[in-house]
Symmetry: none
Subunit: 416 residues, 2 copies
């Protein structure tokens, strides 16, 4: 069953507001097993809105419109849908009563003449009460058994109305559910990952695999459609198994809600380890991201931002000779930073970062984007050399993601 979303509103076309309603409804439709192939945004213009509604009806089974149900002259979603369907608008006494009550209770002034416009409904439709405003929602079943659903634009009215009345209506209609899991891969690029599963991506139908590039990670969203959740899970299981076979330890989770830092922190908790960080170019973003995990306080006591060489010596005990001989951006310095941070914080695990985030400061030997990440775990220290591209912000964000994934791998290796 195909659904189409039409957002009506000049404020969206002008870029004054972000269309968050469309995201909400799209997600709801997907969860209900409705295929959503098109989203359209049009303004309060009768001709263009008419065209959008007619086109949507020609290719979709369910058309959901949001916005344009207000009391003013330029709100004309109802009028336009009625015209396309060849149905008249009639006054709904129940809705008129509700509007009267709403003004009596909530606004303490009589409705203006144009408020009564909101009591007009499309003949034969199902009226959905609005508990947070004056515009009722409408569900119109067309002669061809298609559904046209008109909903108010303000999210504070739309979301509760959808949850109370529209979702139950659509569930009955589809008798289908959608289920998805996300296979999250750390430390690999999108094109590399896609390359490894070329055969799986080709000609896929149900379940589907969709790759998403994140900073320092790739997410593979595996989605199945079935009559029940159990069946959908059964469809997904062999795909997850296959992905695990191909990516092994690079997969840090298959749960939608778990982040890379969640995984790292929970791994430390599991092994009873504490962690610290010593950051140069990332300047605190690494510890900041780790401490974003609720409950990080169990494994983090303190972290160090050692931007200057002097700070690396004072706080971490990096040797002056190391800094002089190899420079601050070197594997040797990264190694001493990690070891020194673990010692200074009395932690079993330490991550260190030293690099050239740019824009200036690079040389041909040590270009902008060169970053060394050190990881100390219970007496073992490893260092990786990374090269990031993009601006200062991108280099630093990439560094942080890479450091957490590197930490995760080292803890798996030495942390037990």
């Amino acid at each position: 069953m195909v659904a189409e979303l039409i957002s009506v509103g000049t404020e969206i076309l002008l870029g004054n507001i972000t269309n968050t309603n469309a995201r909400y409804l799209a997600e709801e439709c997907a969860a209900l097993g409705l295929s959503c192939y098109t989203q359209v945004t049009v303004g309060d213009n009768p001709g263009r809105l008419e065209e959008a509604v007619a086109t949507a009806l020609s290719r979709s089974d369910v058309v959901i419109l949001t916005g344009g149900l207000g009391p003013t002259e330029d709100d004309l979603t109802k009028e336009t849908v009625a015209k396309v369907l060849g149905l008249p608008l009639v006054e709904d006494p129940h809705s008129r009563q509700r509007i009267e009550d709403y003004f009596k209770k909530g606004i303490h002034r009589p409705p203006t003449d144009n408020n009564w416009k909101q009591a007009m409904i499309i003949e034969g439709c199902q009226v959905v009460d609005n508990h947070n405003g004056t515009a009722p929602g409408l569900i119109v079943t067309t002669a061809g058994e298609k559904q046209v659903i008109l909903l108010p634009g303000p999210p504070g009215e739309l979301y509760p109305m959808f949850e109370e009345a529209i979702r139950p209506f659509l569930e009955k209609l589809t008798s289908q559910i959608i289920y998805s899991r996300t296979v999250k891969i750390g430390g690999m690029g999108e094109s590399y990952v896609a390359d490894q599963i070329q055969d799986l991506l080709e000609n896929q139908t149900n379940p589907t695999i969709a790759p998403y590039a994140k900073i320092g990670e790739v997410h593979l969203r595996v989605t199945a459609r079935a009559a029940t959740k159990k069946e959908a899970k059964k469809l997904i299981r062999p795909v997850i198994r296959e992905l695990k076979k191909r990516f092994g330890k690079s997969i840090y989770t298959t749960r939608n809600e778990v982040t890379l830092e969640d995984k790292f922190i929970s791994l430390l908790e599991k092994y009873g380890l504490t962690v610290t960080t010593a950051e140069s170019c990332s300047g605190g973003l690494l510890s900041g991201r780790l401490i974003n995990v609720a409950g990080a306080s169990d494994v983090i006591n303190r972290c160090f931002v050692t931007y200057a060489n002097e700070a690396k010596q004072d706080l971490l005990g990096v040797k002056n000779s190391t800094l002089r001989k190899y420079g601050a951006v070197s594997p040797q310095t990264a190694r001493e930073m990690a070891k020194g941070a673990a010692r200074a914080a009395k932690s079993q695990v330490a991550l260190s970062v030293t690099g050239i985030a740019g824009p200036g400061g690079g040389t041909s030997e040590k270009p902008v984007g060169l970053v060394y990440i050190g990881c100390y775990v219970k007496g073992h220290t490893e260092v990786i050399e990374c090269h990031f591209s993009g601006n200062r912000q991108k280099v630093r964000e990439g560094t942080v993601a890479r450091a957490i994934d590197f930490g995760r791998r080292c803890v798996m290796k030495y942390g037990k």
Copy 2:
């Protein structure tokens, strides 16, 4: 001149992400005087994408597509546009070279076969270099003098590319210059700011003032349209003057490219001061944001993340009695943290943060969202109490913005 936006991406149709690109481009088009009547979102489906492109070309002069320029099989925006226009795809040696360089410099592994797909362009198009990724942008002028513009989907690639190349191209096309300045206000809420300029917001035509709520700041974008930059600047000047009169020192800049942290760092440089931070709940995000300023190394030597009480005592010298009597989240602790950090880092300025970011840990007396920010400047210490709403991430981001603005105000007061 009519523009139409086509967003390509299954992740938008599935509701996985909010289409913020459409808002950005819609706003840019409006500023350029392009009328945008329709926005369409379609997935990576050749048939439906073809229909969307053909329809857009039948009714609009400029069609801007975002997304679907990636290296994978299901990225087919270029292929589809080429098909609709009846033009072949050809390899662009320049783009191929850029991709090769990008991998050499940034990724340190050879590109995979499908990366070369991104070097394919539509014959006769204008290629726009991507400085933040591998997919170049394309501008195709059709036989009917319409413009089809293909841009990458990731905002980190799209926004800079639009600013560098697409906006100037569209300015030439519309022979109108758009000039805007942004009055940036720290430490005030959006509704308060809007309230202060209600009279200016009503009935504005040219220039216009558009308020944007940012984390811990409000930006007022003043935009003028004129035939020349000089004329536009002349239109803007009295508006900026009026806003300065109304918001005084709360305005930290009127330059689009200057961020709050830029301003703070440059203020420190101007007065010859160095700064350090001592963070509890923000966990390094404050130092991370300050160090994101290129050249921060002139004023920052080291920073402290003191998440546990023990760390606050060890590294900052916060008194055990203070922690016991008032708790870690208290103005007294914030004060000692700021003073102690300044002493430990030998800095003239120090910012401290201690608060309850949630989700748990709040009490009726000290609820989630309560944060104390301390600022030490040359012997003076001030502490403010803040209350933030939202989840852990939002509380922490709000804290960081507020701390930088507070630091800016304290340095202006005591730093000279």
